[in-house]
Amino acid sequence: MLLELSSDQEIFRDTTARFLTSRVPISEVRSLRNHPAGFEPDYWREGAELGWTSLLVSEEHGGGSVSGGGLVDLTTIAHEFGVHAAPGPLVPTNVVAGTLSTFGGEAHRPVLESLLAGTSVAAWCFGPAVDTDGRGPAGPRCRIADGEVVLDGVQRPVEAAGQAHHILVTARAEGGLTQILVPTDTAGVSIEPMRTADLTRRFAAVTFDGVRLPVEALVGEPGDADELLEYQLQLAVVIGNAEAVGALQTAFDMTLQWAFDRYSFGRPLASYQELKHRFADQKTWLEACHAVNDAAAAAVDDRSPDAKELVSAAKAFIGDYGSELVQDCVQIHGGIGVTFEHDLHLYLRRVTVNRALYGTPADHRQRISTVLENRKERV
């Protein structure tokens, strides 16, 4: 998170921080592992009232940012989600809300309103995305004919598909990538829950079997969703990164405190040089995680030409170095750090799962090299 927030941003962030502290203390988070949805509807609705879902939505649609940079503002919320290991589908709901506000038609207004009000949440299928190697089953395909869209295929894993009223799907059509907002109660949609390394987030495999929708369900121009998908990916990555950085910050603070409190061989752990130097590395990586994701968020808000490479650099760096950081926190805690009773794994899970979603570090390094390749000039 930025070292300097404006006072408005600070109030905004702090409101959410205080809400999460009281509504989802760690004991509550831990018990949500058996909750079918992973979060309570009331909790989400109240969060939406604090602005969790409105930052990427234009003012004319009832949204608005705090600072003028909606994604930067949203990263302060996401950071607190990470700090508190908070539940709730922050990434997909915001990606869909932002998309519907900018590219959605009149038909999508009621959905957008319910997302803003927090009375429903949305899921987003990260589709046949951009430069990764197309692993997993081929994504969905669709045909458009006679005023109808017909959708077939499978997508997995999809966050909050089982909790969402709508899923934003990217499908291959003859003309190119096409996006469709699919109500989850449409005939032909089936949702199979998956197992996950997360405690509170729920993922599903979603199958579309001859799903028929009116063309009003289309989002943006059919066949022209490449840039839209790229933009959504950038949003999802930056929000997920901000959560991960919040989780890393908490894990780091907790472990540093442990090193001061815990004695071994008559000395605090914090007095051992080898551990001190590892903390120095951790601190360096942590500051770097903050720095690169903040820069990525600003670049996406500004539609800057370096947004793609910054977003992927942030994902690749936070994924790899963040994982090593939090695993080193586990190591310094020793056995207690891998017990369910200890809090550390809640942060470890957040970092781990976010690393695997929306492209692994290796996938994003490939994306970066594509950017480099497309730079014609020899430096």
Partner: protein, 423 residues
């Protein structure tokens, strides 16, 4: 009056013949070594498996193949690490009593052999080798971490007995073990290493209360024990009063040397608790990514680490056995295994891609990668941390100056400790 010992190759043939005639070949996919990452067994399943293993051990004993490195007078074979290694090669692919090997045969059995009285050895070692006694280690404590000698569990003399109070943690098999080897403090007025004593005690008794520890992946393999006024006769003391660190040092040596021990059967190629390179190949197959050069690079790295680890283990094991390098060099093997296992878990997780976050049974070998990754540091923590291994290598193997230990020369009761463990 010692017989000439059996030649390794003739022993190998004898073992091979018996194994093929008497033991069940494993099914493909079947694993014996329990790892943290495996699906959790119910207590009934665990007990049934153990009963079967006791039976197998008795068969092995009756065949004259049990306790390869234990002396013949205690029911063993009086043979060498080379014989054990031959046995380890022959047992590959067959059912065998995996759960009995550690900690029962070693370090517990090995410590009894090193320090037990004649009477203690005669009573327990044959019973161990017949599969009649399963043992556990009561060594680590919640307060102690790597500082095993800082045990707070106390043993107070009471006539011919000792009264033990305290808590032990990270024990395995508490619900199934018969006996335990326990390190306790008998003197608080001397520096920590000089006030410890080792005892043996039956586990199932009223003064011992056992709690299972839930790990983040749901496993409940580990326990914590609370000892309340547990009475142990002085005849169940191992080694001298206040001489427990001499025993403890050897105890931990046996623990580090498991893979090069003459007491323990581990099929060649096994690395318990590790994500094996072979299973990573399956992750690549099941995610359809074998053709990706980056994935192949990672597969090559994983297999490289495994081959290097095996050859290193062999080099160090032979070097120690031949007396060319110090026993402390076992820490080198331990360090390498811990770090490379963590790296392999990371490689598997990376290859699994989104299946590392969420999965179904359809994901095949990729399905457990996320949970394995969450648990990856256990390879660098359990059985002595990699930090302790690095201390041992630098100070004991390379002779570099010892760390400043403010607890070294002062009565243990005055040693600074963690806030939570202060008086």
């Amino acid at each position: 009056m010692t017989d000439a010992i059996e030649d390794v190759e003739s022993f190998r043939l004898r073992a091979r013949t018996w194994i093929r005639a008497n033991l069940r070949p494993l099914e493909p996919h079947e694993t014996l070594a329990p790892t943290l990452a495996l699906p959790v067994q119910t207590e009934e399943e665990e007990l049934a498996a153990l009963a079967r293993e006791r039976e197998l051990q008795r068969m092995i004993f009756d065949a004259g193949l049990a306790g390869i490195g234990f002396p013949r007078e205690y029911g063993g074979q009086g043979l060498t690490t080379d014989h054990q290694r031959a046995f380890n090669a022959e047992i590959v692919g067959y059912e065998y009593p995996a759960r009995l090997q550690a900690p029962t045969f070693s370090p517990c059995g090995a410590v009894l052999l090193d320090f037990g009285t004649e009477e203690q050895k005669r009573r327990h070692i044959p019973a161990i080798l017949k599969g009649e006694e399963i043992w556990m280690q009561l060594l680590s404590e919640p307060s102690g971490g790597s500082d095993v000698a800082a045990a707070l569990t106390s043993a107070v003399r009471d006539g011919d007995d000792w009264i033990l109070n305290g808590s032990k943690v990270w024990t395995t098999g508490a619900s199934t073990a018969d006996w335990g080897l326990c390190l306790a403090r008998t003197n608080w007025d001397v520096p920590k290493h000089r006030g410890l004593t080792v005892f043996i005690l039956p586990i199932h008794q009223p003064g011992i209360e056992v709690h299972r520890i839930e790990m983040l992946n749901g496993s409940t393999e580990f326990c914590q024990e609370f000892l309340t006024d547990v009475r142990v006769p002085d005849s169940d003391r191992i080694g001298d009063v206040d001489g427990g660190w001499t025993v403890g040092t050897r105890w931990m040596f046996h623990e580090r040397m498991l893979f090069n021990s003459p007491f323990v059967s581990i099929p060649v190629g096994t690395s318990p608790g590790e994500v094996g390179a072979a299973s990573i190949v399956n992750v690549a197959r099941d995610t359809g990514r074998f053709d990706d050069r980056c994935v192949r690079d990672l597969l090559g790295e994983a297999h490289m680490l495994e081959l290097v680890g095996q050859t290193l283990r062999r080099r160090i094991g032979r070097g120690v056995a031949a007396g060319r390098i110090s026993e402390q060099s076992a820490a080198i093997t331990r360090l390498f295994a811990g770090v490379s296992s963590a790296r392999k878990a990371t490689i598997a997780f990376e290859i699994a891609g989104p299946a590392g976050a969420a999965w179904t049974a359809d994901d095949g070998a990729a399905a457990s990668c996320g949970d394995d990754f969450l648990m990856r540091q256990t390879s660098c923590i359990g059985g002595g941390t990699t930090e302790m291994a690095r201390n041992v290598i630098s100070e004991r193997v390379l002779g570099m100056p010892r760390e400043r230990t403010p607890d070294r020369d002062r009565p243990f009761r005055d040693v600074p400790r963690s806030a939570s463990n202060r008086a």
